[in-house]
Subunit: 188 residues, 2 copies
Amino acid sequence: METTREKLINATFDELFSHGYQGASLADILAKAGVHKGSMYHFFANKKEMALAAIEETILKKNLEKYSYVETYTSGFLEEFYTRLRDTSVRDFKRGCPIANVVQEMSNIDEDFNSLMKSIYGAFRANVKAIFDKAVEVGEMKPCDTTKLALFTTSTIEGAILSAKATGNAQDYGDVIEELIEHIEGKR
Amino acid sequence: METTREKLINATFDELFSHGYQGASLADILAKAGVHKGSMYHFFANKKEMALAAIEETILKKNLEKYSYVETYTSGFLEEFYTRLRDTSVRDFKRGCPIANVVQEMSNIDEDFNSLMKSIYGAFRANVKAIFDKAVEVGEMKPCDTTKLALFTTSTIEGAILSAKATGNAQDYGDVIEELIEHIEGKR
DNA sequence: TTGAAGCTTGACTAATCGGTCAAATTTTGT
DNA sequence: ACAAAATTTGACCGATTAGTCAAGCTTCAA
C-alpha cells in the first residue's frame, strides 16, 4: 500500500515535473495526492523540503535502475549504453528531463536546490564515466579522457532532450543521439 | 532616452532571466523599471503579453548582432564560429541561457510560450546551419547533412551551458565546446 | 486657447499563495 | 483495556498575486 508520505512524494514529483517548483501549487499537490494540508505538514517542514525530498528520492531510485547494469556486465558496455540511449519509451519529450528542468529553474535562485542538483548531476556524469571506464578496461574503447567524454556525453543528452522539447519533435532527440554515438564510436 | 515601454521590456527580460516566468513578480518588475502598475497596463494587456514581448524583442536583437557576420564574410566561417563559441565573456553561467530557461519552464505549460520558443529555437538552428552551409560552399568543410549537424551543434551548446549552470563551473562549458569543435573539425 | 489623446498615478479587488494549529481520530505498544 | 504516540482533519491567517479603474496630468494638434 502507498503510504501518505509516498503519495505526497509522488504527487509532488509529478507536479514539479509538469509545472516546475515555483509553478507548483501546494493545493494541487494535496488534491492529487488526496492528502490534507495539515497531514502534509506533519511529514514535511514546508513546500521546499517536500520538493527536495521528492526530487532526491525519485531520481536516486531511477538512477539505480538505469545504471546498475555496469556492475553485472562483463562486456558490451557501449552497446548496452547505446541501446538505452536510443530507447525513447522511457522519455517524456513534452516535459523534458526532470533534472534539467529543476536545474534551469532553481540553480541560481536557491542554494539548497543548487546543491542538490549539483550532486544529482555529478552522479549522472559519474555513472556515464563508469561505463566508459569499463569500456576502456575491456578494450571496447581506446584509452582517453573519460571524464571529459562523460561531460560531453551528458551535456549532449540534455541538449538533445531540450531540443525535442523545444520543437515538439521527438525525432530531434534521435538525430542528436545518433550523431553523439558516431562521435563516441570515433574513440574505438 | 529610455521610454517607459523600453524600461518595462528590459526589466521584464532581466526578471525572467533571473526568476523564470512563474517566479517573476509583477511588483518586482515595476519597481525595477520604476514604472507604476496602471502605466504598465496601458502598454501591455497582461503579464504574459509583456513577457512574450520582452523575450521576442530582446532575443531578436541579440540574434541579429550575433550571426550577421555570415552575410559579410567570404571565408573563415568556421574559425569565426569557433571564436564566438569560445568567447565566454558574453555568457552568464549562473543564469544559463535565457532561451533554454524559458523553453524548459514554459513549453509544456502554455501554447503561446511554446510557439514563441519554437520559432526562436528554429532561428538559432537556422543561423548555425547557414554557417555550415557557407563553410561547405567555400570548401572549408566536406558536404554533409548540415541540418543534422546544426541540430547537433545547437543541442550540445545548450547542454554545455546547462552543465556549467548545474556545476557552477564555467570550465565545463569550455570542455564541452572543445570536444564539439573537435567533432565538427572531423567533417573537414 | 481649447479639447482630445496619450500617459501616469495609486488605491482597490478577488483569488491564491504557503503556512499554522487545536481538536479529533487512528494506530501502536504494554 | 488503556494510555501514549502518530496521524488526520479542516478552519483559519497574513502576505502576495495579477489585474482594475477612475481621476489627474501632460502633450500636442487645430
